[in-house]
Symmetry: D2
Subunit: 430 residues, 4 copies
């Protein structure tokens, strides 16, 4: 099922092996050539249909090629609206700024200025780290075990994954990795642990500029920070004059239910990083939100060629319209419950296999203690026309995060395929 | 002249001042709200027309909203071709890989594998630095005075600009800044200088993993490296087993005439960074080209959410069709000569004002020794409906780099406005 | 009581204030001009006698101007034995190597090569860190909270004290500070904590080259690592291929009883740092002991002008003769008990003042929870002719570490003065 | 000829091979066991006499076991003067402070405070770097090609030697290596080169805290900075607010004629590092001199156990008495001329061998362009009972630096041996 616009001969997987670098990865897990997509479904060149439980690693919360957004986008292109504008003022950008302010910030009584740091999550994280260091005049940033914040050197330095870190080719500095919520078991109070390092002038830790937090660690294994832990962490930051950065790149934009993942924790981060689904249509876009009093940037002190991806602005503004409807969050929670139900079912069916169901909203995972069970399940899913990926440093978690807009019946069909795949893999375990 | 798709009330500059971070910069040089654009022209909301001599800082070599590309893009979107795909294999990506191979690499007898490092120039540079360090097992990278390679920490460490570097908020490591071609005047042999540091085991310089080079330093002040200097630098790299990275993000894709800026120098870089105009339509896209024998990446060792910007693939593949026509490079050179002519005319007209005309192809600049003459000229240009920016660390160069596809009459009109602006500013100097 | 050899006019404290840098410190705690000393006593220019419970911060385990050593030293000087020899082979050096081998290593069945890294503790630590990094090809070194290893940049990077670290003026890299024994309370298993970071590939910690440990943290507050903790730490190192460096600079040479502080823990460090009392007479000297299989140094890869302090060799060799007598360790333990008894007495007398008695052998301390009680007690001691210093990052510990050779009656007199001083200070607390 | 005090069996070289680390170096160049020494002569255990043209790498400017100093030292020891005192005020220390002030600083109208940073050159350099960074709030320090400042991480980072740097096992940061006087040949103006980097805000160099300079690079190859170059460098520092640190550890204390090596250049360093011969008798001692206005140290911000090596104070103070006699400098220059004469003679005798005579005062060297001629000459010298070492990163310089107090006839005899050794080695070259 080829896209007609492409008049070239049909593309085969061998082409990628020959011409593309060995660094490619997902095409190895999902070995076929995809051509079309709609909401929660994808089709490959042979016309095979797949249900997508991966959603562009969280970039497609509103589904593939969302029809509402698509119309706006095509109209804008057809009218020769500005496409690329660096950081000049454009109508499309103004429209997004305005919409974001009216639909997201104002109803939540949140007072932040918006920075366009470049079109990717790592741009947003790098800008957040720079600003935190500039504002405080300090260098150290605390990150958390199993954090993932990006692949450029600044973001990589706050990422926990050893394999990714070694890819840097240089030692990564000015950061300290502290234990995430429950890292040392349910009993250990990691907040007390961190505070001990902060209060003790002999701990070897200098006062940090910031802490950078994912409220749910997507790549790190669907590890969920409890609201009370977040609350205490936020208080710790205030007590010691440390800025709190929340990286909501993957779990923001409704992934866990509310627009911001931390809303229900009652915390107020100093800086917020958004990307992935903020672009609405899967287009590269990122925002960094900063408390107005932190906005001491010099003009152009951080910049980037693609800060002004106007197609992204158009798509993003339209996507935000979903948040004008109070029902949207409820629909997410409903779908989340269905996912959890299936996962709990799997767990109950195989009491002899050590596993844990984790997650929140529509980011759920089953973590397996042993072997490569998660990987085998994802493989079995692919064989059944279901796209699902592992998470966790050792790929020990089978992760489900479909489009938030997935149709209920498609979701159920996908979950049935997952249950079936789990049966195949786990049935052999007993 | 608003874009109809946007049904919100008209956008004013005040909106940006209120809602956007102080870090915004170009909107200060060009204080108006742009809405539409076509090839080398832009229009603001009041309907005022501007000729664009800035071209998205080199991202719009094929002009704004190029009609050929636009049709492909809209058709692809309308057919629900894959938009976002991480690094899965897609038809659109295969199409680009194939086209790039056939149209660019094969005719030039260049053997490189293609890596998609994320959609921006700094992603490409970071991936190049990582790979060079991994391949060689060394840490130091040599960069050049007045280099600009990006704003994430790895790229910033090879960037010369002190203001940008300080923005890092942490010391930048593992890099040494060496003198660019002619940095110490026409007499000083900077290649000999560098070699002395390499050959002397007491120089304090450890053997570097790589050198990273812009053949023409766009941001750094339109400084042109001579072909013989590049040739000698390349030989130095070979002699000492140092990898040569060419950052062709701004000056590749025909900006100086040929597709790659270094083609005529007869050198063969080990790694090549492409972004900006490779996206064709101003869409975020970047490629890293690597010699096959360097392709020792582990799968996913460098990754990123927006590696698979399929709209960018579609636009990029179509843009490459320009390079199937031998006449394209000639047209660039013709336009370049017109620009140079105007600049020489300005220089001859004001012999008492110390200035130098610099550049190659369609990236030309006039560097002024004193005061803020470049800035004043750019401002006078804007008043005349011409968008032009300064370059150089102290903004001492007035830079001209229009779309390569600019119509001859539009180019001439723009140059006339530039000459007029120069008269206004420099007339006062005598 | 001036030394006759000095024919200059009497020296006053004002001289130091005028000519010496503000960095001077101990002369502020003990504001008088000292001129003579013998074993555990010092005299100032006014002839006032002091009992010394500080012993050169652990450099004078054999007392001031030990008579046995002194005779050897003066004879050697009178005969024009080599004084300074870089690292040439000299008779005095051979004599020390031989003695150290026969008296210390052989009876303990320890197989180590001896390196002379320069004459101070920090030289030894820097050489140990270099070697560990060279042997493993790794960069990170784990140190412990409240560690103190020296003031040059390599050693400072493994030191916990924030004030000292900030003195570096640059960020300190390639080290991670892990919790010492009981750092998070008696319940928390810090070994398990550290192992979690080692085994989890997402922890953000790269495999370290080495851990560097003081078995009792002298400067850090007289914190004692339990033998079982040391044993487990040693096993952790073995399991993960991490080198174990024991810094016995302050607590070696019998301070805690046996010659090496770790003997009774049954561990076998890969590298051992010795300085302070190894010089016997208070002369600058340091040794680095390395397992023979680690001795992959290139000649001169680490060097230093004063590696060949032959007066130190002579004094050191003679001092080792104390260890030929089995009774020596017993005498230390006897004295240690007397100190502990006094400290326990103070604690029992003031149950309302929160304090803890810590230490081992002849390094004992009382840690106070609140205020500057330790400092006040040391000051009151000085008024009573007793030299005693605080330890701990916040100077919260009153530390007692006299010469190991202190006469029992002098020790008792000193302890009586301490008890009296404590009464003065703590009596006011109730 | 054993020292009687040592009653152990005679020491053989094999002992060192068996018990001492492979890192030992000079004992490989001078393979014998030394036992006694007097002024410029040394004797080994077999009674063989050597003339010493190495003088403890510059630590024995006043000769081995200088009789004047020896008497003071022994008397002080016999009277139980304080030996070790941390940084307490002692009579011996006051005496040295006073003498240094009266004999050295006051007559030269130099206003500096004295810091005791620990007993070695690298301690002094580390303290100087710390202070410069603290005072300026900047991190970068400029060092020079072929500089040698020490082996601890801070000092190593400003040392040029690649082999020594690699020994660090970690990348060395916060320093930039700039070309020394004449590094790029006689024509190239390295001051202009450095200034270009300072004045250009795009050079990649951040404003440094300090420059650290050896006026004659002893280890680096006896490279002499001209007075005019030093003067210009000093002016550059003043112009940009950069502190100038002179490391006079090896070339101070009269090595080049005057007490400070820079006196005749008419510059006034902000910080001066002294060690090696400041200890007078070869005893470990170091001073850091600082302009009073820079003395912003907090008490104890830099410390060290052996800051109070009182035997060093006694010896140092007595050694300074040489500088009360105006004739001393003249005697140095006279001896220097004799050395230079011999060296020039060698050069003239072998016009076909490419060599250069370098140096100042009593630090002179012959640099050979090819092969290991310097090493072979030093070896031939040793065979003739003359101790001489190479300098330069590739050991390409045969260096002569005897005690300043060497008797004229001993000097002449040594030079005759050198000439004879040169004949043996260079005679074969023609």
């Amino acid at each position: 099922m080829s896209v007609n616009v492409l008049d070239k001969p049909s593309i085969k997987l061998e082409l990628f092996e020959k011409l593309e670098s060995e660094v490619r990865s997902y095409c190895r897990s999902f070995p076929t050539v995809f051509s079309k997509a709609k909401n929660a479904k994808m089709w490959d060149l042979d016309g095979k249909e797949y249900i997508d439980f991966f959603a562009g690693a969280g970039s497609l919360n509103y589904g593939h090629n969302n029809e509402r957004i698509k119309q706006k986008l095509v109209n804008y292109i057809m009218e020769d609206g500005i496409t690329h504008s660096l950081d000049m003022a454009t109508e499309a950008k103004g429209h997004l700024l305005n919409t974001f302010h009216e639909v997201i910030l104002k109803p939540r009584k949140m007072d932040y200025k918006v920075m366009f740091p470049g079109p990717t999550g790592t741009n947003s994280v790098e800008s957040a780290l720079k600003l935190a260091r500039k504002v405080t005049g300090r260098e150290t940033v605390l990150s958390f075990t199993n954090a993932f914040h990006g692949m450029t050197l600044g973001s990589l330095a706050v990422t926990g994954n050893k394999f990714k870190r070694q890819g840097a080719g240089v030692p990564l500095h000015h950061t300290v990795s502290m234990p995430f919520c429950r890292y040392h078991g349910d009993e250990a109070d990691t907040i007390a642990y961190i505070e001990k390092y902060l209060e003790d002038s002999g701990s070897g830790l200098s006062l940090p500029a910031a802490m950078i937090l994912e409220t749910v660690q997507g790549e790190g294994g669907v590890n969920v920070a409890s609201f009370s832990w977040m609350k205490k962490l936020s208080e710790l930051c205030k007590k010691y004059g440390i800025l709190l950065i929340v990286d909501d790149v993957q779990v923001g934009c409704g992934r866990t239910g509310p627009f911001f993942s931390f809303e229900e924790a009652g915390i107020e981060p100093d800086i917020i990083c958004l990307s992935k689904s903020i672009g609405g249509y899967g287009l590269p876009l990122a925002l960094t939100l900063l408390k107005p009093e932190l906005d001491i940037w010099e003009p152009g002190e951080h910049n980037g060629t693609f800060r002004g991806n106007n197609l992204g602005f158009i798509a993003a503004a339209e996507a935000l319209s979903y948040w004008e409807e109070a029902s949207f969050q409820k629909e997410i929670e409903k779908r989340g419950s269905l996912i959890e139900e299936t996962m709990n079912g799997i767990q109950q069916k195989y009491p002899n296999v050590a596993m844990e169901v984790r997650g929140k909203g529509m980011m759920m995972g089953i973590a397996f203690e042993e072997g490569d069970l998660a990987g085998e399940i994802c493989k079995a899913c692919f064989d059944r026309g279901l796209i699902m990926e592992t998470a966790g440093t050792d790929s020990e978690v089978a992760k489900v995060m479909p489009a938030l807009t997935i149709e209920i019946d498609v979701l159920k069909e996908g979950l049935a395929r997952l249950a079936d795949a789990a049966d195949q893999v786990l049935g052999n375990q007993s």
